[in-house]
Symmetry: C2
Subunit: 114 residues, 2 copies
Amino acid sequence: MSKSRNLGEFEILVLAALVRLGDDAYGVTIRQEIENRAERSVTVGALYTTLARLEDKKFVASRMGEATPERGGRAKRYFEMTDEGRAHFERSISSLGAMLKGLRPWPKTLRISH
Amino acid sequence: MSKSRNLGEFEILVLAALVRLGDDAYGVTIRQEIENRAERSVTVGALYTTLARLEDKKFVASRMGEATPERGGRAKRYFEMTDEGRAHFERSISSLGAMLKGLRPWPKTLRISH
DNA sequence: GTATTAATTCTATATTGTAGAATAAATAGC
DNA sequence: GCTATTTATTCTACAATATAGAATTAATAC
């Protein structure tokens, strides 16, 4: 059994994207969400590798989407955070928040529903 | 020359500690700052290794402290962030901030002087 | 069935994270 | 000047995360 460690920086971004996307979180949308919002490039390999690792750790769960997209292409694999994943996620952002609180480019909180 | 990448999670915590500590940032205080504020354990090895890497990348600079402590013990090595380090740091926390903005355990901004 | 489209999986390597023992360097007392 | 004590850094090794992009899979449309 692998020891419980802290989440990596990219793992945090991915989990945050999951929360933001809710139902519609799969590879392509997750990637877009991070690229657009974080203004940071994300290669497909990096993303799927990270999602796979998070799933190994049971921090996310996935299910295959309906095999009936309207127009060609492979089925989507949807991801969502598990309760365990959420616990780690909150611990990580709590630590970051505590350290970064008050430093300049730090944004205001505004609370979303997810 | 090594390619410019994103900062890791622990690197971010360390850099944040440097900013917070200002003048008084050396191994022991940095470690305390992270343990106390982030509520996360930090081994000495992890910290110094990370500081050494940040210095290799020119994201921090260090200088040896006065060789005259009042009461025994080796000289301190003080650390501060470089301009280049700051640029990376701000980019990283900007990305994190953008992704995490609005999610629940996210703190308010309050601005400190450093 | 062949082309096209959409998406995931695979494989390999670099970098970051983590731990703790070992070492170093200063002071104090004798 | 030795020896003990204190404070702090350095060393070494290994594990996990980050990153890239080519390859592959699976569905639809002609």
